[in-house]
Amino acid sequence: MYGLVNKAVEDLVISSAGLETWQRVKAHAALENLQLLDTTNYEDEITYSLVHSASAILDMPVDVLLHAFGRHWVLYTGEAGWAKLFSAGGDDFVSFLENLDEMHARVNMAMPDGRMPGFSLTENNTGFMLDYHSSRQGFAPMVLGVLEGLAEQFEEDWTFEHVDTREQHGLDTFQLIRETPVVVGNLRNAS
């Protein structure tokens, strides 16, 4: 994966546990001398190693860490160099998700070695269903984190459920439900 992703892992560890912990994570992954660059494509092994080492050093299960990483990803891409692009993703949560596939496809132009995930959003009677396709295993917890971060970014209240998993159903699918704001006046009328 491109260094951008690994850098986001680095950024998460450093901002939450300090530089020294990050050095320990790298040492644990036997990557002491790794100097990450955003625009270099690295073997996926490196990402997996870093995530697993961070999970060991921070004493956090891998899926919890990936979830935190997903939330951080929104902040990171929103700030580190991609801020302008991020703002072009959409004006609200749903439109951002609608454009996500296209966004990754366009980013793929600049980063031709990337293997971008695919997303498709469909509306149903409770909200939306988001299908997540990837050539990689294990990043579904990250998607949940990104969704949470994204909703927060747009200041919208959403709940998410990982309804189908790749292991069981061949595809990761998330149910997205928008919380309707409770208006005090309505409550009074109802009583």
Binding site: Q35, T39, K84, L85, G89, G90
Partner: protein, 596 residues
Amino acid sequence: MHLEQAVFSNSELNRVFPFHIAICKKSSNVIVGVGASLQKVIGDSWHNNSLDQIFELARPRNTELDLDAMTASDKTFVFHHRFSPLSLRGLFVALLDNQFIFICSVEVMTQNTLKELGLGISNFAKNDPTPDIIILHQFRDLQLLDQQKQIEELRKLVVARDTFDQYANTDAMTGIGNRRHFWAQGSTMLNEVSEGQKTTILLLDLDGFKAINDTYGHDVGDEVLKVVATRCQQTVSDHGIVSRLGGDEFVALFRLDNLNAVGALVSSLMDAISAPMVCMNRHLVVRPSIGVSSLDNMQNMDEAIHYADLAMYEGRKKSKGTISWFTPEMQANEDHRKSLLSDIAQGIQNRDVIPYFQPIVDIRKQCVYGYEALARWEHPIHGLMFPGEFIELAAEAGCLHELDYWILESALDQLAVWDQQGSKFSIHVNFCGTSIRHGLDTKIMKLLSERRIKASRLMLELTETTLLEFEAPEKKILDDLAAQGVIIQLDDFGTGYSSLTHLHNFPVNGVKLDRSFLLNYPNNKRCLALIKSVLGMTQHLDMTVVTEGIETLEQLQWIESIGCRYGQGYYFGKPAPAQECLVALESWVPTHEKAA
């Protein structure tokens, strides 16, 4: 199949060209419609306005707003929105009824263009690469940042490497190069072709440097090293390199055209270093010993340094403070020395090293009083060798202790034989300092008792220098031996510090005056006076004195006349194998009879 005419619905037009502008030429180029994305940016301001009122044609410059001509042209047209930062780039197509459409997209001026205009990816047609330009720009920015990081990392590495090199190659004390530096630079120099030039390597050691440290302190010593380093550097650096190898040892490697020039440089180095210096207000003069090797075919650094080292070693053997040049004979000597070094331990084990015995005579009683056991090495190839040729080797090989002990044991064996033959002598055995080890007293007493020899018949001869180096444990061993009756004698007295203070500190019962006192007899009056005064003093201390080096009757008579009781020297007999001793004894004629 060719499409003769394409009819787009409004929504299709919007999907494919979301920034288009529809213009009616008939009504003075009034705008009749715009794409949804353009509408998002410019709002309704276009209603009932002509193209010219809302947009300014920016490129090509000086072009008239003639829609027919513009449609017919292949050119790209850029329009600036007069009320926002929006620019549109595209071309004109003509529709029916004098309608024209400007098919265009946003011209990306800066990375902020989309943000400033409030546009997102979804506002662009799916096949419109305009947003990609922004993505590419952003990617390029990241690449530049990455590049800077890499350059910065590289710079740090280079600085770190340079600093490391600097540290690793510099002698911290003097600031000149160190051993590592010398090896690296020197090896390169040796490997370079030196057209007709002499490559010379020079080792330099300061004589008496330890004394400077001991007397004035290490601060002064360190200053001396700095001054010497600077002087070496100044003298040599135009022609080669100088480094400090460690301690007070310096090394230089240089190239000069001929041997005369080399000689001149070496001499000027000697002069420079020997010149007086002031270090921490002390006026000092240090003299170096210099070993030089100037050969045409020196291959590697080890070899080169080895030659210079040999030269220095050989030079120092003769005299300190000199310049000594390497010669091939030195290497031959060294080879010989090395082969002996590897033989010595075996020689002791094979009992090729044996005691020879030299008589010590009781001058007053006119009889042989005892024998000194002196080690001789009967080398299977090199023949008979003397202690001067192998004691140092034995020390270097770490078997001096075995040698001393073996000579003692076999001397005592011989004494026991003589005892059986009815002659009672004392036996004098030399011991070096390192042989005086824990348990020696018990061992010696055991050897004596096994052979039924009284302890007082054994005289251990130790030099002054040996005694000087002794600490409490060695002194205790000597005390124990003396307490059990063994006699301790100070050997070669007069060659070292010649201080009788040792006689008080150690259980010394006798002194052997070094043979050098009688050299040039009777001309060296000073020596003779010294013998007399030592005799006087030792008599007061109730010690025996043996004068060594008696070679003539005159010397013997003089020694007898001043009251010295014991003597040793060629006059009485040379060191000889045990079996020859008694024969010699039988043919020995007492002094009085000879004189008569």
